[in-house]
């Protein structure tokens, strides 16, 4: 009798973890690069905010957030999430595509849901959901705006970001959009998405060209440096500067109808929220969310700027 009872107890013990798992909370791991620049800072802000909100909405979900300052740290973060927290889904914005592809693929093989954000992995078909920004579209929208503002054509200078695939796609989209519109790109240099670098490059552009009609700074941080250089040189030939990404200070200028900053083009760091939210919906409801979700780049002008103004975000 005692033997039978102890066997039953042992069986119950053995069975209990499996049973418990059925109603236990599911865990979503979120792995993103650390806030080393403005855009990433905004992305971190939105990730945290979304997680706080979803944890209240879905009590059956648990979240683990890890920020990494380099690809190797990100790989260990993800391995720890699988080993220590037993995550059911992973939302990852890869620091770099190459080093993350292998580790994420091996996690996908274990049956864990994978959502990749912004930067794709270097092998296709690993992720279940891909939430992507639209870099060619970012360039195209910017190019169309510049062409529209300069109907007679004109001479412009372009500041590029850090030499990467992202930057190339943007510039190609831009060049296609201004083709045949009479817009001359008289200078193009890398400002590395950095205020100081863009200030220096713009000073040199101003020394080199006596007449510049407009500047495509292609990024809001770079637009800050460009504006300071133009102001310091006291030049009034530049009609406007077009940045990009949607930094709150720039959106605010657009809102107020600033002459030098008539518009902005979004590349929203809040795309991390879309990814986390869709992953959560997929886990709790079973609604189909696999596939690719591209977040379009939108032209922000004075009319719609209020919609894109996040005063609490650091970016």
């Amino acid at each position: 009798m005692t033997k039978l009872m102890s066997t039953a107890a042992a069986l119950a013990l053995l069975a209990s973890p499996a049973l418990a798992q059925e109603d236990e909370t599911q865990v979503i791991g979120v792995s993103i690069p650390a806030a080393t620049h403005g855009w990433a800072g905004g992305m971190n802000f939105h990730a945290q905010e979304t997680i706080d909100r979803l944890e209240e909405t879905y009590p059956q979900l648990d979240f683990v957030l890890a920020t990494a300052s380099d690809p190797a740290k990100q790989v260990s973060d993800i391995e720890d999430m699988v080993a220590a927290r037993g995550i059911d889904a992973l939302v990852v914005l890869p620091f770099e595509s190459e080093p993350l592809t292998g580790p994420v693929a091996s996690i996908a093989e274990q049956g864990i849901w994978i959502t990749v954000v912004d930067r794709g992995l270097s092998e296709e078909g690993i992720e279940d959901l891909y939430v992507a920004g639209d870099n060619p579209g970012f360039g195209r929208v910017s190019g169309e705006f510049v062409a529209e503002q300069l109907p007679e054509g004109g001479d412009i200078v372009v500041l590029r970001g850090i030499p990467t695939a992202i930057d190339n796609e943007r510039v190609e989209g831009f060049e296609t959009a201004i083709e045949g519109k009479g817009i001359n790109v008289i200078g193009m240099e890398h400002g590395n998405w950095n205020r100081d670098d863009s200030f220096t490059v713009m000073q040199d552009f101003l020394s080199r060209h006596p007449q510049i009609d407009a500047v495509w700074a292609s990024d809001d941080d770079m637009a800050v440096g460009v504006l300071a250089a133009i102001e310091a040189a006291g030049r009034d030939d530049v009609q406007f500067v077009l940045g990009g990404a949607g930094m709150k200070e720039m959106i605010d200028l657009v809102r107020q109808g600033d002459e030098m900053i008539p518009a902005d083009v979004t590349y929203p760091p809040a795309m991390i929220s879309t990814a986390i939210e869709l992953t959560a919906v997929g886990l709790v409801s079973g609604a189909p969310v696999s596939g690719e979700f591209t977040i379009g780049s939108v032209l922000v002008t004075q009319e719609n700027a209020d919609q894109y103004y996040y005063p609490d975000s650091p970016f």
Partner: protein, 333 residues
């Protein structure tokens, strides 16, 4: 450029061989190339731009010359500059409510930056001298610490100076006397004082003595640790001075501020003829080195001569060439 000609040495013990002339030749060659490529190169505005933007690295490089001459190294200066800039902005924004956007706040901000620089340099120096940890490791550590601190202070974004304050402070970078802007004047004064200290004071001679052989220096009753500590405090103070010039330019600081400044400063010092392993230092050489680095970037921006992808390669080639010129001269000397 005034600072270069003012501080050019009279040949004393050795004849002006390539070792001495190398960096100057490289600088002259760059000026000739620049002038040939773009008529605006020698314009007043362009020269002023290049000198003013070189001032940050230049002021730091003067301090770095002493540290390297004493056989040490400091990798933390770029992060330190970013952190001090962030701190200065926070202090000024904080004091704005009580003091108003006037001279008081600006003086307070400058004071905060200088004190923070002194303190940061002192921390590096104490860890290296009294705790006896390798300078490379200490400053690698503080480099990470200051970079993280500024990211944390800025909450991952950008710290911006209050708009009114920025306007009040702008003359510190853009204004000046007799058409020479403040950063250039400060750079020239720091370079002249540095050159004087290196050549004519006991401190400068001790730095060189410690750099060539610290044991011998110790037996010659030089307080090695004190001199080393002083080089780091001096460098920290100069990072503070550079930051005071930097903040009014764009009125902001973020984790992207001052990235790789340490390597630019070290490269400028080595191009200028100071030996990386210590024992011999030349402040005017570091000034020439900084101008060479500044001019390369400027010329590449003023021409479509090479693909912008290759800018880094061109800089690398010129840095190595400038040093090769010196080494050949040295072998013959």
């Amino acid at each position: 450029m005034s600072s270069v000609s003012d501080t050019a040495p009279k040949p004393q013990r050795r004849l002006p061989d390539l070792h001495v002339l190398g960096p100057i030749l490289a600088l002259v060659a760059l000026i000739v190339i620049g002038a040939a490529m773009n008529s605006n190169f020698l314009s007043y505005a362009n020269i002023t731009n290049v000198l003013a933007r070189s001032a940050f690295i230049g002021i730091i490089a003067v301090g770095m010359t002493f540290v390297i001459t004493a056989g040490e190294l400091d990798l933390s200066v770029g992060s330190m500059a970013a952190f001090i800039a962030g701190l200065m902005i926070l202090v000024m924004n904080g004091a704005l409510a009580g003091m108003g956007a006037g001279l008081g706040v600006i003086v307070l901000g400058i004071g905060a930056a200088l004190v923070a620089g002194l303190a940061a340099g002192w921390i590096n120096g104490v860890l290296i001298t009294t705790m006896r940890i390798e300078a490379f490791i200490v400053t690698l550590g503080t480099m990470g610490i200051y970079r993280s601190l500024v990211t944390w202070l800025a909450d991952g974004g950008t710290l911006s100076l209050d708009f009114g304050l920025r306007t009040a402070m702008q003359p510190l970078y853009y204004g000046g006397i007799l058409g020479i802007s403040w950063p250039i004047i400060v750079f020239a004064v720091v370079a002249l004082l540095g050159e004087g200290a290196m050549r004519m004071t006991r401190f400068g001679r001790y730095c060189a003595a410690i750099g060539s052989n610290d044991q011998v220096a110790r037996y010659s009753s030089v307080d090695v640790n004190r001199v080393r500590l002083l080089t780091y405090v001096l460098l920290g103070l100069l990072v503070g001075v550079a930051t005071v010039m930097y903040v009014p330019r764009l009125g902001s600081a973020s984790s992207a501020t001052g990235v790789l400044w340490e390597l630019e400063a070290i490269a400028a010092v080595i191009i200028g003829g100071t030996t990386l392993k210590g024992g011999f230092g030349r402040v005017w050489g570091s000034v020439v080195g900084v101008l060479i680095l500044g001019l390369i970037g400027n010329i590449l921006n003023l021409t479509d001569w090479v693909s912008p992808y290759l800018n880094g390669a061109i800089q690398g080639v010129i840095i190595v060439l400038a040093v090769i010129l010196q080494r050949e001269g040295k072998a013959g000397a």
